[in-house]
């Protein structure tokens, strides 16, 4: 299969002009398999010496057509598909989709389920930030951070395994609630983790923030102002690092986020150091949220009692004909959703994750679209690293925290 890559990419124009007469521009491919690209991302970089003059991200290498696949699955079978989009923050994908379908159907989610969702989402945020911190520090040369961060992540994944049986892509969130209540021992183990985590985060800060090399690599490197970021559709920690406190958990609370007391960390200048600091500060806030949610966990159902939407409890199947019929209907055809369109945005670890669902009244969605924050945030790479050193490009990409599974879908 001889493919002429040059002719394929003739349409790509590199806009930069050389500055001096003697300077020559060099086009360099970074990726798709570069360890510092955090996934299968290819960057076509135009270099003048060591300075980045232009950058074009080329994506699509892990495009698997998940949105198309979703159109052929009944609603509850879509959940494991969308979880595989942004594979580091799977609970958020499931939440955005379930929230959209619940809005379409007008299903009420019981308070206990909402709290359990918050606990798992914030744990997932911690796990996601752990991956980000570990791999970013690795890119900057701080190898030991990687092991410390992944140790914390392991504990979180153990908790996920306890509550759902899976470490990743848990399919724990269902339309109407969560699939199971948390098991005995979960709360105690979570409590132990919550007690340890702030001290661990202190240690991470002590390791990184007193390190001259890390500071020189991050401080005043590749800043981007709030206005440009907003124009590019950037949300999440990147926008907050530039001083805009936009966070959907506070601005438009969903899943009872308004019950919890937490702060939104913001930066001042929007450089790489601020991006690091904002995410690091979010670790403490997430711990605070989980702590409050665990403390105030309401009693009651973990999933809606509407049998048209949620599976009946297993024990009812042996005694109730009606439960058996509902069970059969749900696992064969699935539930039908009234026709309409909704867009359900939530705050993922990377910014606004919005799920657009269109229903045509059947048991399968007519369109599922994820507005993935990484997809929009990636557009900010080029203005960020323009006229910066190529080494700073690596640091900036690390602080951008793109997840290619979410970008390509």
């Amino acid at each position: 299969m001889a493919t002429d890559y040059r002719s394929r990419e003739e349409s790509i124009t590199l806009s930069s002009e050389p500055v001096g007469e003697s300077h020559e521009l060099l086009s360099l491919n970074m990726g798709p398999h570069h360890p510092a690209t955090h996934g299968v991302l290819r960057l076509l970089v135009t270099l003048e010496g060591e300075i980045v003059r232009d950058l074009k991200p080329i994506i699509g290498y892990v495009h698997t057509g998940i949105e198309k696949t979703c159109e052929d699955k009944s609603y509850w079978k879509v959940i494991p598909c969308v979880e595989r989009m942004d594979y580091v923050s799977y609970y958020f994908n499931a939440m955005a989709f379930c929230g959209a379908v619940e809005t379409l159907m007008g299903v009420e989610v019981p308070p206990r389920a909402q709290y359990l969702r918050v606990i798992h989402m914030e744990l997932n945020r911690l796990a996601s930030h752990m991956i980000w911190l570990g791999t970013s520090a690795l890119d900057l040369g701080a190898v030991s951070m990687f092991w410390y961060c992944f140790r914390e992540r392991e504990t979180i994944l153990d908790l996920f395994e306890m509550s759902s049986g899976q470490r990743m892509h848990t399919r724990y969130f269902q339309v109407g609630g969560v699939i199971e209540d948390i098991p005995t021992g979960f709360a105690a183990k979570l409590r132990k983790f919550l007690d340890a985590m702030p001290a661990r985060a202190d240690q991470f800060a002590a390791l990184l923030e007193k390190n001259e090399i890390v500071l020189q690599r991050l401080r005043d490197v590749c800043p981007l102002d709030e206005k440009t970021l907003l124009g590019l559709g950037v949300t999440g920690p990147l926008l907050r690092a530039a001083g805009n406190p936009w966070d959907l958990r506070k601005a438009a609370p969903y899943s009872s986020y308004d019950h919890f007391d937490f702060k939104i960390p913001v930066g001042t200048v929007g450089d790489n150091y601020d991006r690091y600091r904002v995410r690091h500060a979010e670790i403490y806030e997430s711990v605070k949220i989980i702590d409050q949610a665990l403390e105030g966990l309401p009693e009651g159902d973990h999933i809606t009692t509407d049998r048209k939407v949620a599976l009946p409890p297993r024990h009812e199947l042996a005694t109730s004909m009606e439960a058996l019929i509902h069970h059969f209907k749900l696992v064969t055809e699935g539930f039908r959703v009234p026709p309409g369109e909704v867009y359900y945005p939530i705050e993922s670890p990377r910014g606004e994750l919005g799920c657009f669902v269109r229903s045509d009244g059947s048991a399968k969605p007519a369109r599922v679209h994820m507005r993935d924050p990484s997809f929009s945030n990636l557009m900010a790479t080029a203005p960020m690293v323009k006229d910066a050193y190529i080494a700073d490009l690596i640091a900036t990409l690390a602080m951008l925290d793109p997840i290619l599974g979410g970008i390509d879908r």
């Binding site: 299969m1 001889a2 493919t3 394929r8 990419e9 349409s11 124009t13 994506i59 699509g60 495009h63 057509g65 949105e67 198309k68 696949t69 159109e71 052929d72 809005t103 379409l104 007008g106 907003l230 124009g231 590019l232 559709g233 950037v234 949300t235 805009n244 936009w246 601005a251 438009a252 309409g340 369109e341 909704v342 867009y343 945005p345 606004e352 919005g354 657009f356 269109r358 007519a366 369109r367 679209h369 507005r371 997809f375 929009s376 990636l378 557009m379 390509d408 879908r409």
Partner: protein, 169 residues
């Protein structure tokens, strides 16, 4: 979200600027949608941006097969100060899938518009660099359209190399 009355007021305001630009409004599950006439969508976006809906949260496509006009382009706008969202929807015919690009209003519309072009074949006029983004450059067809078959893509392995003459699909 503006409530149903607020949406009507906005639609009225838009109609005052240009009587033909708004085809209708939909208010469903707390989501306000302005149905825009495709030739005037840029005008509407500009007016809404000036009104405070100045953040383009999402831009995506949707195929309304078998209804006509089939291809929909949806703009999810956000007003961060009032914490208010509004959706602008423009539907174009599959035979003339042209619509004005919003890149001049929001540079962040660049990649989403390329994705809509890639997946649905909607051509954004005035887009600086409209080419495929997720699918290979030499790919034929628009995979997110509803009449595009699911699972029809042959997978290349060493043993069937050459079988597809270097063509994917």
């Amino acid at each position: 979200m503006p409530d149903a009355t607020g949406l009507e007021l906005i639609a009225h305001e838009l109609r005052e600027a240009n009587p033909d630009c708004v085809l209708g409004t939909v208010f469903f599950r707390g989501r306000a949608v302005v149905l825009a006439d495709p030739p005037h969508v840029h005008e509407i976006l500009e007016l809404l941006k000036a009104k405070g809906y100045d953040f383009l949260a999402s831009l995506h496509g949707c195929d309304y097969y078998p209804e006509e006009p089939r291809l929909g382009v949806l703009y999810e706008l956000l007003d961060m100060k009032q914490v208010d969202r509004i959706t602008v929807k423009a539907r174009v015919h599959i035979d003339a899938p042209q619509i004005a690009s919003a890149v001049d209003l929001w540079p962040g519309a660049d990649h989403p518009e390329r994705e809509v072009y890639d997946m649905f074949g909607v051509e954004f006029e005035g887009h600086p660099d409209l080419r495929r983004i997720l699918m290979p450059e030499d790919y034929e067809g628009f995979p997110q359209r509803r009449d595009f078959p699911l699972g029809g893509e042959p997978v290349h392995f060493t043993y069937n190399e050459g079988q597809y003459n270097g063509k994917s699909g």
